[in-house]
Amino acid sequence: MEDILTLKDLKKTYNIGKYGSFDVLKKINLRIRKGEFIAIMGPSGAGKSTLLHMIGLLDRPNSGEVVIDDHNIEDLSNRELALLRRKKVGFVFQSFNLMPRMTALNNVLLPAVYAKKPRRERIERAQELLKKVGLENRMHHKSSEMSGGEKQRVAIARALMNDPDIILADEPTGNLDSASGEGVMKLFHKLHKEGKTIIAVTHDTSIAKQAERIVQIKDGKIISK
């Protein structure tokens, strides 16, 4: 299978004020193939989330390369990066990050608004996706009126809105009870079967075991992949 994403000698340093700087990621090399289901594991502070943000084009490394679909992000402007992110990547967060005042449908629609899809087309797609995650009866409810499991399913539908190749999930079951967590994982398996590349950060081994490959990270370095 072809690579969808390559990280080469990736280094990320955070300045922490007068205390100097802190290397979060040190020389990370990682190749992710199209259609893979990867779990990134490691203790807290290991750099999992930072790595995920790099993969998700939310941040730039201090040195090294991020190549996504033949685009080296070093060559892209912030605007081009935003356009690529909108097309390639869907995010699922631990704390859902939905707009509380908007309905489930409008939350799911949002990425298509920024991608300037026609109104009718995006409404149809959002309805279809909400059906897919089993929320056809909750479309017009505000996200603030929903349970955690429902919120995360709305977030997954939103991540799929622009039909990205990669779904990035940051502790997607971290705030859910085990039944809801299972439901969410089932959805990820379904998406994986449909050909999506899924990259999930977790420290829960039972979740990680469901992935095809586990990448262990500690102190900013990959210790097994």
């Binding site: 998700g56 939310l58 941040d59 990050n97 990425p111 920024y114 991608a115």
Partner: protein, 416 residues
């Protein structure tokens, strides 16, 4: 498409914080309505004054003491001691053939007393018989005084229509018409400057009477000049009004009158000859000054409103840091975020500006009704006030919006 979505987002965010939004808008609402109303009052006064001045007639020349500079209106110039005399008037009549008639005006001090009761706000003036034809008054009853009246120093007065109302109207149950009241006034005795005078004539009320600081020409009580001089010993003249034979000669005649009086005053120009246009331009320059002051106040009040918007938008950007991060994560560019917050800031000023304009349209007529101040809310005033307010919203929205646009998505998502 994104434009309409942004407007929806903006109003959604503004509705979510109703009281905060309303308070922020208040600055703009007050600013815009104050500006529109102030400009309206200025325009109203200017309109009314122009009408009054035009009622003077285009072939009337007024000589007034003190040197008025047409470019710099100085109200105190007309409060100086008058150096005009009856000799100046005689010189005008002798040496300027294009002058048809001239009349001196001298304000008399003291109130008018009728039946032991003082009546205030009237304009007792001593003048000659020429007054009536120069200002083209009409009689409601009785007669004007004549040259003989002056020569005989008769103790008589001719009253303006409104003056007669004020002195002789008994009260609200007095239902006499203007003419009946005028007829009844003839031969009545009133007391003025310590002497008793008989009313011999009452003039009809004029629509656009010239205002003299609270009293207008309908409120005059005219005393024959020679009679007044005999009683008070006062020979000074406060104004000389002149009728020019042909309106076309007004400017040339004005020059001749000016030269004649300079000669009379041994080369000193301590007076001003005004035509209707001069009076208009002097007052226009005064109103322009007023307009500039209003624009200054407008700028200040709208800047204050704009700072309010900027302040609340900065708070909003900080509060919604997570939302900004999320929007960026799902594909919003910095430009999208900037635009969203700019629309929000502009929405406050557009809605605030509209409410302000609405308020001024409602209150304009009320001010006219309850305070008797003419207001004329013009479209220009509305467009200026509204335009400036919208511009303010955009200008003061730029800083918070660009702050939002520059937020790093990571930092924003981490923000709790």
């Amino acid at each position: 498409m994104l434009f309409w979505e942004n407007i929806k987002f903006a109003f959604g965010a503004l509705f979510a914080n109703k009281i905060r939004t309303l308070l922020t808008m208040l600055g703009i609402i007050i600013g815009v309505s104050a500006v529109t109303i102030l400009i309206g009052i200025g325009d109203g006064l200017r309109g009314e004054f122009s009408q009054q001045v035009e009622s003077l007639g285009s072939n009337v020349l007024v000589v007034t003491p003190g040197k008025l500079d047409e470019k710099n209106f100085n109200p105190s110039a007309s409060f100086g001691v008058s150096t005009l005399t009856i000799d100046d008037l005689n010189a005008i009549q002798e040496k300027v053939p294009s002058i048809e008639k001239s009349a001196p005006l001298t304000l008399l001090s003291g109130t008018i007393i009728f039946n032991g009761k003082a009546v205030v706000n009237l304009l007792p003036i001593s003048t000659t018989q020429n007054y009536f034809s120069i200002l083209e008054n009409e009689l409601a009853a009785g007669k004007y005084f004549t040259e003989e009246t002056l020569q005989n120093k008769e103790r008589v007065v001719v009253m303006g229509g409104k003056a007669a109302e004020q002195v002789f109207r008994g009260g609200e149950d007095d239902t006499r018409t203007e003419e009946e009241l005028a007829r009844d006034a003839i031969e009545k005795k009133i007391e003025l400057i310590g002497e008793e005078f008989t009313v011999i004539g009452v003039m009809k009320k004029k629509e656009d009477a010239l205002n003299f600081g609270g009293s207008d020409t309908n409120q005059v009580v005219l005393v024959p000049r020679d009679t007044a001089t005999e009683i008070t010993g006062e020979t000074v003249v406060y104004r000389i009004i002149n009728r020019v034979k042909s309106a076309e000669d007004v400017d040339a005649t004005k020059q001749e009158v000016r030269e004649t009086i300079i000669e009379q005053h041994h080369g000193i120009e301590d007076f001003t000859v005004l035509t209707q246009d001069d009076v208009l331009s002097v007052f226009n320059s005064f109103f322009n000054l007023l307009s500039q002051a209003i624009i200054g106040i407008a700028a200040i009040s709208l800047i204050v409103g704009g700072i309010g918007i900027m302040n609340i938008m900065l708070v909003s950007v900080t509060e919604r840091t997570r939302e900004i991060g999320l929007r960026k994560a799902i594909g919003a560019s910095g430009g999208n975020i900037m635009f969203q917050f700019l629309v929000e800031a502009s929405a406050i000023s557009v809605v605030g500006g509209s409410v302000g304009v609405g308020l001024s349209l409602l209150s304009g007529p009320l001010i006219t009704k309850f305070f008797d101040i003419p207001t004329k809310i013009t479209w220009e005033a509305i467009i200026i006030a509204f335009g400036i307010s919208v511009l303010t919203g955009i200008l003061f929205g730029i800083m918070p919006a660009s702050k939002a646009a520059r937020k790093s998505p990571i930092e924003a998502l981490r923000y709790e």
